[in-house]
């Protein structure tokens, strides 16, 4: 019997070795491992053997069956893998054919720039606040050291509502609103829509957006040196670590000293190009130390506090960032424009 089993094993392994197809392996499985297999037939004679022999033969036949089954599995896997190894060729597709179009939404480029600005300032511990867009004359002008009949009001062409309110000409009005309700120290930014009564062209809009920033603390704790670092950190956050800034003295009624700030051109890295009009610098906004008259107008003790305020246009930043040459596109609602962002 032992011989018979070994003979079956030998024959089975030979045949398995020769099998080339899935079907052949299946036939061999029936022949050598199924209920009606040769091995099963042989084992029918077990009952005539002594218990000792029975045990020995039983173990042998089990072992043999395991070997045959394992060989069958191996062969089957081998044939399967062989078949799959051709699949690359068989199922080849044209990868240059375009991908399936999926409807994707687009946030407005101004929203995207806005959130980028917010993220940088939030990381520096700023609170983002908002306030009214339609202001009274006091908060838009007087509190900002621009009394009525002051020529500084000429710097901004103003819309007026028939009820005497002003669609704010700058986000600076938020400074006054915030300081009326909060005591220093604080650092805030405010982003929002402003209005100027200007004829529209590629670089001028009647509705546009600004960012306003304000830091106030005890006198001596906020200096021009700090202002420079805040502007610089912001610009690095927006245009990259190598960005440089410079301040040019200027005048805005609500700050003193006042300056404009420029960033090194992110396109040519200060070499001079079309975007920066060959100067290497891009004018970005205005800033300065809060004018003492502004503190007085909101009821702060002007000798006790010092502050730093800054402001810049969001459209302008977006135009520089994306290379947009016409400001009117932002409010045109044209999906061919919006889908690019």
């Amino acid at each position: 019997m032992k011989n018979k089993i070994n003979e079956i094993k030998k024959r089975a392994l030979e045949e398995i070795g020769k099998a080339k197809t899935f079907e052949a392996v299946e036939a061999l499985r029936v022949k050598y491992s199924g209920r009606k297999s040769e091995l099963t037939n042989v084992l029918r004679g077990l009952k005539d053997l002594s218990p000792k022999e029975r045990k020995e033969i039983g173990e042998l036949s089990n072992h043999t069956k395991q070997i045959i089954e394992s060989e069958l599995d191996k062969k089957e896997l081998k044939i399967k893998n062989e078949e799959l190894s051709h699949i690359d060729k068989k199922e080849k597709i044209d990868v240059t054919y375009p991908g399936k179009k999926t409807a994707k939404g687009h946030l407005h480029p101004l929203t995207q720039v806005r959130y980028a600005i917010e993220a940088i300032f939030k990381s520096m511990g700023f609170l983002v606040v908002e306030d009214r867009e339609v202001e009274d004359e006091f908060h838009n002008f007087d509190a900002m050291n621009m009394p009525r009949n002051h020529p500084a009001r000429d710097m901004q062409d103003t819309f007026w509502l028939k009820n005497g309110c002003v669609p704010r000409t700058h986000t600076s009005s938020v400074q006054a609103r915030f300081m009326e309700k909060n005591k220093p120290p604080f650092r805030i930014i405010s982003l929002g829509r402003v209005y100027r009564n200007e004829n529209t062209d590629a670089t001028h809009e009647s509705n546009f957006h600004q960012t306003e920033g304000l830091i106030v603390d005890k006198s001596g704790k906020v200096t021009v040196a700090n202002a420079k670092s805040i502007i610089s950190e912001f610009m690095k956050g927006l245009f990259g670590e190598s960005t440089k800034i410079r301040l040019r003295p200027s005048y805005f009624p609500f700050v003193e000293p006042g300056f404009e700030f420029d960033a090194s051109c992110p396109y040519c890295k200060g070499e001079g190009c079309r975007i920066c009009k060959k100067t290497g610098w891009i004018e970005l906004g205005g800033a300065g130390m809060v004018n003492q008259n502004v503190f007085t107008s909101v009821g702060f003790n002007e000798d006790k506090y010092e502050g730093f305020a800054f402001g810049f246009g969001i459209e302008r930043l977006a135009m520089i960032k994306y290379g947009i040459d016409d400001i009117r596109l932002f409010h045109a609602g044209d999906l061919r424009f919006l889908q690019q962002f």
């Binding site: 339609v134 830091i215 000293p257 300056f259």
Partner: protein, 818 residues
Amino acid sequence: MKISYNWLKEYVDISITPEKLAELLTMHSFEVENIINQGEGLDGVVVGEILEIKKHPNADKLSVVKVNIGSRGLAPVATEAKPLLLEIVCGAPNIDVGQKVLVAKLGAEIPCGLKIEKRKVRGVESCGMVCAEDELGLGENHEGIMILDEKSQIGTSVQEALGLDDVIFEIDILPNRAHDCLSHIGVAREVAVLLNEKLKAKNEKLEIDNLKSSELLSVKIKNEQLCRRYSAAVISSVQVKESPGWLKSRLESCGIRPINNVVDITNFVMLSIGQPMHAFDADKLKERNKKQDTITKQRTRHNDQTKITIRNAKKGENILALDNETYKLDENDLVIADEKKPIAIAGVMGGLEAAVTESTKNIIFEAANFQGTKIRKTSSRLKLSSESSYRFEREIDPEITIQAIEMAVNLTKELAGGDMKDGVTDIYPNPEKRRSIKFNFSRIENLLGIEIKKEKVFNILTSLSFEVSYKDDEIEVLVPTFRKDIEKTNDIIEEIGRINGYERIREVFANMPMKSVIQDKTLLIEKDIRKTLEGLGFFEVYNYSFLGEKEISGSCLKIEDHFELQNPLSEEFMFMRTSLLPDLLNNTRDNLKHRDSFKLFELGRIYLKDSKDNVDERKILSGVIMNKNQKETLFYDIKGQLKLILEKIGNEKLSYRKIENPESFWHKGRSASVLAKKKPIGKIGEIHPIVLNNFDLSSKVVYFEIYIEELISFYGEIKKYQKINKFPRVELDLSVVFNEDVQWSEIKKEINSASDNLIQEVEPFDIYRGKNLDESKKSIAFRVSYQAEDRTLTDGEVKAIQDKIVSNLEKLGGEVRK
């Protein structure tokens, strides 16, 4: 303001190029917006003399002129430019033989963009061009060609002939420096400080004793606050004529048209030192009713004095101004008047009647100081502004009137002859005091964040004409009267900072507390909404806050609900919007030209009227869905998406019901109010076809609006974890026929009431109408999911619930389809 480089050089030695100077000024708060090189682009244009004029054989309006451009003209621009005599075809009507004109030679490229080439004009060869003013960029005149002074040298370059050797800077003078820098001396003073040079002093003293008041004049100021100072001088026997070339070119360089020598002198003084002046014809002004001509005779008797009063205009008074317009004055306007009536609108414009003309013999020069706000009010009320009003509005130093008179008188003697026998009348009741500002030296470092040595501070401030004294750590600064912008300590520190240079200040991190910042909920909600909508395939648009009447009424909104602008840019921008719908419909129409389906949203503000007529600003999210190919289910598309948006904000379940008092733009059968916690938070629905028609839209538009402020109360509710149910779920479908008017909300309620806790979900998946069904019926197919939390449900349990569902639905008239 236009500032001449050559003029500046009369006040201060400048050793750097105009470009470098412009850069220096720009970096020190005087932004140079433009640099104009006067002679630029005019190479190849020379003086020629017209020798002969013939009619063009083939054209009535053209002539052929022979021009001599002399031997100097030989210097070739192009090689063809050889001949001494050029034949040029010319169309100008004002040419004559013997005239000196400007000739652009072959090869020249002139400012109007023309390149001069030899070419045939109607069959006659033309070898150059005789130029008009505008073609050379020298002015706007195109009436005819430019005729030069007959003394002009043939063949000289246009730059030499017209003295175009200057460089003009267009400088943006900011309001704080408009007191002193709308003048060449003001800018020169800055330049001197920046270049570390001395300002060249000019001696303008009069030979006569100017302290003695003129006996020919009596000046009376009614309100000393409105007119701080009035200085005047009488000059007799002047010869009014054209100004010499140097003076005309100075004025023209700065954009002022020369009139005659006397008027030009007043403008020259203004451009030099910033004091606006006026010249009156003394004879036209005094005792106009007598019409006598005796002013040249010596007058000492009191009643022979010319009386000038600076007073408010009287009701009903008019004045015919130099611009030939008549202005109605009112009691708030300040005027200069003789005994009868106003002769000038103070600080704004003189009257035509007392104007200096060629026949004027005797003049009165005025250099006054008027209150800025007063002048500003009059100028803006009359919509009349001038170089003079522009300066007065910005408040100027009252100390400089005498200097202005001195300059004007000296120049008049030089250019117009004349005689000043008398003194200068000077009414100055409250002389300007120099402001004194004291502060502790440490304030400088406290503000600038940089240490600047006392000596350096001293040098900077004295170079700016401040007087400085130290007492221990206290510094006292005496401010010159012309620096009206310096009022407080920070103003002084700014001067120190800007002259020292901001580039020297290092960047230093602010020392601020490390604190977590609780950001504003509304802004967080907006951000969440935007992100969700972006994920859902929406495009975000920004529209203007302004709307026109057409859009408002086209959307069936009420005009009277809108705030109106006093001074709108145009008709489309007359009102503040109360809805985002009108512009979203515009966007929809415009974009339909390029695509068939899209989703838009805007998150912006609307401006409502509250009960007291105040502006009530609200934040609103509005959107539209447009799909030309799929119309019936668009409402449910939006409804499904709104659910996703609001799930992101909080846990509140939404419900929908009919809109109470809907605006007329809604399709009333297909719109609903959206409620959360029983409070309306928005609306969704189709837009009424009438409105769509008004916007030229023919496809259905589904619209929604959500009131951002209403979301705040349930923003940020914590989402609690639900245990995952491990027991099997049984899903069974039913199809039930109902009457058309039975609503899903009722059906769902009945289904759910069939079991307390074993129905997990009910979801409709099909509505069928038509074949085999009565017209008033619909068949709704839905799937019910049964599941218990603690065991596997038996078939019997499920069957029992299902039977209950069927019997519940029968109450609604439902009939199960087999």
